[in-house]
Homo-oligomer: 190 residues x 2
Amino acid sequence: MVATLIDLTEHCLSSKIIASGGMLTVKCDQVRLPNGNTSQREYVTHPGAVVVVPILSTGNVVLEKQFRYPLHQVFIELPAGKIDTGEEILMTGQRELFEETGYTASDWLKLGHQYPCIGYSNEVIHMYLALGLNAGGHQCDEDEHLEVFEASFTDCLGMIQNGQITDGKTIIALFMAEKYLALHPHVPHV
Amino acid sequence: MVATLIDLTEHCLSSKIIASGGMLTVKCDQVRLPNGNTSQREYVTHPGAVVVVPILSTGNVVLEKQFRYPLHQVFIELPAGKIDTGEEILMTGQRELFEETGYTASDWLKLGHQYPCIGYSNEVIHMYLALGLNAGGHQCDEDEHLEVFEASFTDCLGMIQNGQITDGKTIIALFMAEKYLALHPHVPHV
């Protein structure tokens, strides 16, 4: 809760769904602004997501390459996915890590959460550090196409600096993990 | 351009607009997956945005508090806004900084760009460091309600760690600025 000097709250007057596809639901609400004027707010409703920073005993990070249709390009990303209805967020992290990379992890540390798109989406992304990894079978969905690879933590930070990693959720989770690892030097990373 | 071992490209078969409000345009495309199956991709089309890290000669960062309707809460954010049609991205940064905070800046340094929401939006956010600030008149739109305030760079990083700053674009731009400032210690910051 962020305190403010004046009331900045916008109040809902009415709400309707303007798009409801297989994946995205978009709402359009009429709102009353703090100055009494009315305006319109359109936004995507999202169940929330979890992103995982999986670090191997070698210190390498497990990453993926995935084609993202809205940008028509391949991105380097951390394992991540949407929260299923009723699912605990830690379970989402564990499920997505396994489904996308085949790894399970014995130690899970919460790194916080962030809102990627506050202007037009209610999505929240929870971030975890996953340690004590064990390789299992790759359980990727038939229609989910991705390439799993490894990079050192230093190389991950270098790829942010040189523009090879531009996915917002991946940048934030790696930076949050960097801060965590700086405070916890016993955790393996190189 | 991220190289991959196998072709991950999804090809557009058809595209239609499923929502077109005052602000958001949402498309739904039929696509051919790499394995030959067909699927559906829904996404928001966005003109792109610019976020600015304005640093005063005291080392303080200029920030804002703004109510964000999709999350029904006030966020601590850096000045930012959408690119107008045909506008140069540096102009967007200069315009938004002035409109939202009343400041102009003599020195603008590009910090890179990031994609906040690659799963369902084509938005790109360009990041600038703005130095050599001069206070002018606050030109905020009548219906744009926000509170401008200052915090030291150290306090900004602390607010990310303690969860007071959770806006994705603000977190990334502050971390990118931190990396830049570490490499350029002559730039004022405390």
